[in-house]
C-alpha cells in the first residue's frame, strides 16, 4: 500500500485511459484500508483509485512499480460481477506487458475530460507548442526512416529482378530456336528499358560491342585536334566534357566512354587510354613521347630553380592535374626531388643524383 501516492487523478498528455471499474475497495494486505467504495482507473501509465464519496481523495501507483499482482475472486465488492473485474485484470495484465508508459514519458499533468477515451490532450502554453513541434519532428524522422526502409527493400527487389532478367536473357541466348525473332526483340527492349545493356553480347573490356567500336572510331576523329592543342594529353574528364558538349543530344555515359577508349589500341587509332599510378586516366596521342615530356619538364624546373604543380601548369598551359602527374612521373624516374613544407609541394632537380 505504501507505493501508492496521493494524486490528483489527472491524466498526463501522453497518457490514455484504458478502463475504469466502479465499486472497488482497496485492501492493504489483509486489512481493509480506509478507502472503501471507489472507482479504479487503469491508464497506460498508472493505476488510480478515486473515492466515490470524496472525489478529492485519490491515490495512484505508477504501473512501472507494480511488481506482482494476482486475481482474488473472493471478497471483492459484492456489487461488481466477477466477470467485469476479470476483464479489468486482463486489461491490467495487458498494460503491464505492453509497458506503454515507457514509450511516452510522463511530463506535467494536464487536465482531461474524465470519462473520455481520447488520447489527444490539449497542450497549454509555450511548453505545449514546443512539445508539439518535437512530436512532429519525431513523426517526420520516423516517416523518413520508414521510407528509406522501403527504398532499401526496393533495391533488394530490383537486384533480384535484374538477376532474373539476366538469367532469362542467358536462356534466350542458349535456346535461340524456341522463341521467335519478334519476341526476342520485344524482350530485349523490355530489358533495355529496365536499364540492362544488350544481354546477347559480351560487355567486358577488350572485346566491346559494335556500339563501342563505332564510338571509338568517332572519338578518334573528334579528339585529334583538341589533343594536339593541349600538347598531346587530356584527362578523361576533359574528354568527357568535350565530347558531350559537342554531341548536344544523345550524350555518352562515362562507362561507354571508358569502354570505347579501351578499344583505341585494337582499332589502331592514333590514340591511347592511359592510367597513371594514382588512378588518373588520360587520353594521349600515340606519338606522345613520355621521355620527351619528362626531359622538357626537367628543363623547365631547372630553368626556374623549382616549380609547384600550379606554376608548371601555367607555364605549359596544361591542367594542374596533368602537370602534377608529369612532375610525379619525373620524380619517380629520379629526375626530380620534392620539397614538402607548409609553403606547399615544390619540385627541384634531383641534385642528390647529379651532385657528388
Amino acid at each position: 500500500m505504501d507505493r501508492f501516492t496521493w494524486s490528483n487523478g489527472l491524466l498526463e498528455m501522453n497518457e490514455t485511459l484504458v478502463i475504469q471499474q466502479r465499486g472497488v475497495k482497496l485492501y492493504d494486505g489483509e486489512d481493509k484500508a480506509k478507502l472503501d467504495v471507489g472507482i479504479a482507473l487503469l491508464s497506460t501509465h498508472q493505476l488510480i483509485w478515486r473515492d466515490l464519496k470524496n472525489h478529492e481523495c485519490c491515490i495512484a501507483i505508477p504501473l512501472s512499480q507494480i511488481i506482482y499482482f494476482e486475481e482474488q475472486a473472493a471478497g471483492i465488492g459484492k456489487r461488481t460481477p466477477p466477470l467485469s473485474l476479470g476483464y479489468f485484470f486482463r486489461r491490467l495484465t495487458e498494460e503491464l506487458s505492453q509497458k506503454r508508459w515507457e514509450s511516452t514519458p510522463m511530463s506535467q499533468p494536464i487536465p482531461t475530460a474524465t470519462n473520455s477515451q481520447t488520447g489527444r490532450t490539449r497542450a497549454v502554453g509555450i511548453v505545449g507548442i514546443e512539445r508539439k513541434i518535437e512530436e512532429r519532428r519525431k513523426e517526420t524522422e520516423k516517416n523518413i526512416s520508414e521510407a528509406f526502409e522501403d527504398l532499401s527493400k526496393l533495391m533488394v527487389k530490383a537486384k533480384e529482378m535484374v538477376e532474373l532478367s539476366r538469367s532469362i536473357a542467358n536462356k534466350i541466348k542458349d535456346k535461340q530456336g524456341d522463341i521467335t525473332e519478334d519476341e526476342t526483340i520485344r524482350f530485349k527492349s523490355y530489358l533495355l528499358s529496365m536499364g540492362i545493356a544488350n544481354p546477347v553480347t559480351r560487355e567486358t573490356h577488350g572485346s566491346g560491342t559494335h556500339y563501342h567500336l563505332q564510338l571509338a572510331k568517332q572519338l578518334g576523329d573528334i579528339l585529334l585536334a583538341p589533343l594536339e592543342e593541349r600538347g598531346g594529353m587530356m584527362a578523361l574528364t576533359e574528354v568527357y566534357c568535350l565530347v558531350n558538349r559537342a554531341r548536344g543530344m544523345e550524350l555518352l555515359s562515362p562507362e561507354d566512354l571508358v569502354n570505347a577508349c579501351k578499344m583505341f589500341e585494337s582499332l589502331k587509332q592514333p590514340l591511347r587510354l592511359r592510367i597513371f599510378d594514382s588512378g588518373v586516366m588520360v587520353v594521349q596521342l600515340q606519338s606522345h613521347s613520355e621521355e620527351e615530356m619528362i626531359s622538357s619538364a626537367l628543363d623547365n624546373v631547372t630553368d626556374k630553380g623549382s616549380l609547384t604543380a600550379e606554376e608548371f601548369a601555367k607555364l605549359l598551359g596544361l591542367s594542374v592535374l596533368l602537370s602534377k602527374e608529369r612532375l610525379l612521373l619525373a620524380e619517380k624516374m629520379g629526375h626530380l626531388c620534392r620539397d614538402d613544407s607548409v609553403e606547399g609541394l615544390r619540385f627541384y632537380p634531383n641534385l642528390f643524383n647529379s651532385q657528388a
Partner: protein, 174 residues
C-alpha cells in the same frame, strides 16, 4: 674553426623525406655524414631527441626548413645500423653518438701510446683523456664510457688490459 655545412644543407628538398627510394638512400647517407661530422666538430657524445629537434643541424632557420621527428628517427636508425649510434633507453629519447667507433678510438690511442714509447706503462683513465700530455690529441676530452669501450676493443685485440685500481680504472698497454 667554424663548422662547414655541406651543400645539401641549403637545399630545401634535403629536409623532406624523399619518396623515391634511390633518392632517399642518397639523402639519408648525406644526413648521416652531416650528423656525425657535426657531432665530431662539437665533440658531442650524447644526444637527446628533444634538443636535437631544435639543433641547427635539423632545424635550418635561414631557409625555414626542418627535418620532421619521424625523419630524424629514420636518420638515427640508419646511424644505428652503421654502428655509429646506440639508444640509451627503450623510448628512444637519449642516445650515444659514436662519430668514431670504439675500435677507431682504440687504434688512435694505441698509436699515441706506442709513438711515445709508453708501451708497458699503466695509465689511469683520467690521465689518458684529460691529462696534459694528451691535450693535443683527438681523444682528449673523450667521455669515460667511450674511453672504456675503446680500451675494451684494444683489450679484445690483446693490445691492452683494463685494470681496476683503488680510486678508479686504469689501463696497461702491451
Amino acid at each position: 674553426m667554424s663548422f662547414e655545412w655541406p651543400w645539401q644543407y641549403n637545399f630545401p628538398p634535403f629536409f623532406t623525406l624523399q619518396p623515391n627510394v634511390d633518392t632517399r638512400q642518397k639523402q639519408l647517407a648525406a644526413w648521416c655524414s652531416l650528423a656525425l661530422s657535426y657531432c665530431r666538430h662539437h665533440k658531442l657524445y650524447t644526444l637527446g631527441i628533444m634538443e636535437v629537434q631544435e639543433c641547427p643541424v635539423f632545424n635550418h632557420k635561414n631557409i625555414d626548413r626542418k627535418l620532421s621527428t619521424e625523419a630524424i628517427l629514420i636518420v638515427f636508425e640508419e646511424l644505428r645500423k652503421k654502428g655509429n649510434l646506440e639508444w640509451l633507453d627503450k623510448n628512444k629519447t637519449q642516445c650515444l653518438v659514436m662519430w668514431r667507433r670504439p675500435e677507431e678510438w682504440g687504434k688512435l690511442i694505441y698509436q699515441w701510446v706506442s709513438k711515445n714509447g709508453m708501451v708497458n706503462t699503466v695509465f689511469t683513465l683520467y690521465e689518458l683523456a684529460n691529462g696534459d700530455d694528451t691535450e693535443s690529441e683527438e681523444f682528449h676530452g673523450l667521455e669515460e664510457w667511450m674511453l672504456i669501450r675503446s680500451l675494451q676493443a684494444l683489450q679484445t685485440d690483446g693490445k691492452a688490459e683494463v685494470i681496476t685500481m683503488d680510486d678508479g680504472k686504469g689501463v696497461k698497454f702491451f
